[in-house]
């Protein structure tokens, strides 16, 4: 049971009725709510109209400002930027998943030194701003922008994913592990055949959400002059020949960037819904489709 309005799948009447925070509205309350709704919509419409007025007033929708997007060269520049963003994302995602698996295995190890080293690494990389790591690799180790970006993203997301993997393995019912040991499996077999498959399926929504974070953070490459999507946008925006179409560039770039991230977030939600209804997940609880950074020292 929840206090808020129920998920949008429920029919509308049931949805209005299911919140414990307010009574089922009668005729008077419905009229009042309609009034509030109209007032809110009008205020919002006024805000949108004002923004559009500002945009039109400063000539942001004029033909010259949008003409560059029709040029093949500009389109290629943007696509190359987008390709570089996706390349950094793909590399960082794969490496972060690998690093996360290694660190999680280390934290679950039976050997104290291994456990201790992995814990220190995980806690340190989670506590550092990812930008500090990227700048450190870029400035102090003097590497190219792409490896610097990928290293920073891998270290940060890898250590967060390690915690996700670890909590997934720990959340599998104790009976599963005990049954596997009772069948005579070794600890590696228990891990690889019994615990990890269930943990990964249960944690898939959270893992995908963490990849959304990695995708968003590839835009940090802009700050170390990696030629990614935002960088391509800036090149167009500061070009005098195109009358510096800054606002059109922001509109185009943010629509594509936010659209990509939303698509991946929506996928995480879809997986979460699917896995919750999956009979194979009886011995685990499926993780939430959101990347939840935990406080340092918040877990036992």
């Amino acid at each position: 049971m929840s206090l808020g309005p129920s998920p949008k799948r429920a029919p509308r009447a049931a949805q209005e009725a299911s919140s414990a925070l307010y009574d089922i509205p009668g005729p008077k309350a419905r009229a009042r709510h309609l009034g509030y709704g109209i007032a809110a919509s009008l205020a919002l419409a006024a805000l949108v109209a004002w923004v559009i007025h500002l945009l039109v007033d400063t000539g942001q929708f004029s033909y010259v400002k949008w003409r560059p997007f029709g040029y093949v060269g500009i389109q290629e520049l943007l696509l190359r930027g987008l390709g570089n963003t996706l390349k950094a994302f793909a590399l960082a995602a794969v490496l972060a998943l690998a690093l996360g698996a290694v660190l999680a295995a280390g934290r679950l190890s039976e050997h104290r030194p291994v456990r201790w080293v992995s814990t220190v690494l995980v806690e340190f990389f989670r506590a550092m701003p990812v930008l500090v790591m990227i700048f450190f690799v870029f400035v102090a180790l003097e590497v190219q922008p792409l490896p610097a970006l990928v290293t920073g993203l891998t270290l940060y997301n890898g250590s967060v994913l390690a915690e996700v993997f670890r909590s997934g393995v720990l959340s599998v019912d104790r009976g599963q592990r005990e049954a596997a040991y009772a069948l005579g499996m070794r600890k590696t077999q228990v891990m690889t055949y019994v615990l990890v498959p269930q943990a990964v399926r249960a944690m898939l929504p959270t893992i995908i959400s963490q990849l959304v974070v990695a995708l968003k953070d590839t835009s940090l490459g802009f700050l170390i002059t990696y030629e990614e999507f935002l960088h391509a946008g800036r090149l167009i925006a500061i070009n005098m020949d195109y009358t510096m179409p800054f606002i059109p560039v922001v509109i185009v770039v943010s629509a594509i960037y936010i659209g990509l991230c939303m698509l991946l977030s929506w996928f995480a939600n879809w997986v979460a819904r699917r896995e919750r209804g999956n009979i194979k997940n009886e011995a685990v609880s499926v993780g939430p489709p959101e990347a939840a950074p935990t406080m340092p020292g918040a877990h036992p």
């Binding site: 808020g4 102090a140 800036r234």
Partner: protein
């Protein structure tokens, strides 16, 4: 060690800049986040749509893009504000979407009977939410909000690349003055560790004082 002692005032200035950014953005994020959480559970459909849109869009926006659009875009409309204020706006709005989700899931942990009892006493939606549900939800959202604010403190490093004085950007001055890059980064890292551990300690203390396990 020399790097720190010889440039103590520079580091202090940067650290203070990061602290100020974090505190002001946190206040903005908390205010907007709680308001949006209220919108998301409100009986008025239009308000729910506003809350949901705010959260969905901002949670999927790269923070660098938000900085880029705000700090370089708003001045084109003649909105001339100091860079610090733009940075607080960008960080605050971005973080408010995460605060909103934390508060909303906190509201959902309060037993349904509490809301029903408040309603049967004749309380309105505002009274139910403000006087009964939110105070109880507060107890279970301390830890998630703490993690969100730590993330905010770490994200404030981006502001340094947009001409705001903060901790990370001190490395530029130091390397121009010929100091060891590695050591200047070590002290920057220590600064961020101090800040995040301080926030963590504060919220752990609050959790011990007021938190409940639900």
């Amino acid at each position: 060690m020399d790097v720190l002692t010889e440039n103590f005032s520079l580091y202090g200035e940067g650290f203070w800049g990061t602290v100020k950014l974090t505190v002001y953005s946190s206040l903005l994020a908390l205010a907007v986040g709680v308001l949006m959480a209220g919108f998301r559970v409100a009986p008025v459909r239009a308000l729910r749509v506003v809350g949901t849109t705010w959260v969905t869009v901002l949670r999927n926006t790269p923070l660098t893009l938000l900085f880029f659009a705000m700090l370089l875009g708003l001045p084109r409309f003649g909105v001339a504000l100091p860079f610090e204020l733009f940075a607080v706006l960008a960080l605050g709005c971005y973080t408010s979407s995460f605060i909103c989700e934390a508060v909303r899931s906190g509201i959902n942990t309060v037993p349904v009977g509490q809301g029903e009892a408040a309603r049967s006493l004749g309380m309105t939606f505002g009274q139910t939410l403000g006087a009964v549900v939110l105070p109880q939800a507060f107890r279970s959202v301390i830890a998630p909000i703490g993690s969100t604010l730590i993330a905010l403190a770490k994200n404030s490093a981006i502001a340094g690349s947009f001409s705001v004085v903060e901790l990370l950007s001190t490395y530029k001055t130091l390397s121009e003055n010929g100091y060891s890059v590695v050591w200047s980064f070590v002290w920057i890292a220590v600064g961020y560790l101090i800040l995040t551990l301080a926030i963590s300690a504060l919220f752990h203390a609050m959790e011990r004082r007021w938190g409940v396990a639900r």
